[in-house]
Subunit: 196 residues, 2 copies
Amino acid sequence: MSKGEETRQHIIEKAAALFNQRGFEGTALSDLMAATKLRKGGIYRHFESKEELAAEAFDHAWRVARRARHQGLEEIPNTVDRLKGFVRNFVEVRPGIPGGCPLLNTAVESDDGNALLRARAREALRSWREFIETTVKKGVERGEIRREADGETAATLIIGGLEGALMMSRLAHNDQPLHAMRAHLEDYLESALRKN
Amino acid sequence: MSKGEETRQHIIEKAAALFNQRGFEGTALSDLMAATKLRKGGIYRHFESKEELAAEAFDHAWRVARRARHQGLEEIPNTVDRLKGFVRNFVEVRPGIPGGCPLLNTAVESDDGNALLRARAREALRSWREFIETTVKKGVERGEIRREADGETAATLIIGGLEGALMMSRLAHNDQPLHAMRAHLEDYLESALRKN
């Protein structure tokens, strides 16, 4: 990595933590300068706009969250158990970037506004859905998941349930909603998906 | 209502739509002035700060959302059917204030920040939980809901599921996630709560 690339990466990492906690609108240039210890010119030499920096910061935050949530999943051979592992990771593993789920934060802030950020959030949601739908499809092929199981529905129930429970847990400073949702999704995966 | 009270209410209503779409940080004084057709002094004669105005605007938006979601529920005698009616209203009835659910928006924006707004969102979540828990309790007393049903869990699954699916539907501009979550919650209410 060149010195310039290193600086760019340093800015993205610092910005990711700020944007994920305070939002795009809530993060001021002065916050970015304080966190990166750079002047305005030192930051904007690397990015065309605040939007572009925020989009790169989102992609970084999403990669970090994804890594935490997919931790150890490849070693789980059974597809139903792999989906349960995903739910467990979402609830138990705190990703390195503070502020909660980057997708939830960015989706809620950008759904009426910022088109570039919204596009990144939509792509993140699409890739998350794809992971679940592909896992369900593979499970059906292998005879681990019932033939009539619907991957799209499974993706909606898992993603929607976890994100909604995360909102409740963060607001109330209480992990109970996340734990209750995990138990419910485990039941759902066992009763609606697993082929006995 | 005095002229002053009328103006105050006018500001709250205009501000509620702005804050619910753009967020607290994303709403500038100039936006508030354009929407209310008032000058800075004309707005801040009625509110001590932007925080106070946003808190009042949130309470207003929440009352409007609540009214839409509780529409017609009192006429439904059976408690399980009443909870199903609530889920249906959440999915089908668009409240008059644009920008999605005020609780989701405010919770996500304020969970790392603004204490006054966070307190209002927590109170909204508490009152929503209370409605569901009270309905479950009443259902158990009347013999409509199984004795072992847990109101707290029901509240988490309904609120978390709907809010998460709403985030997905708004981001993708597609109501499918909300419809899939509604069907799932109806199944849950029939199979886990209703006493046969």
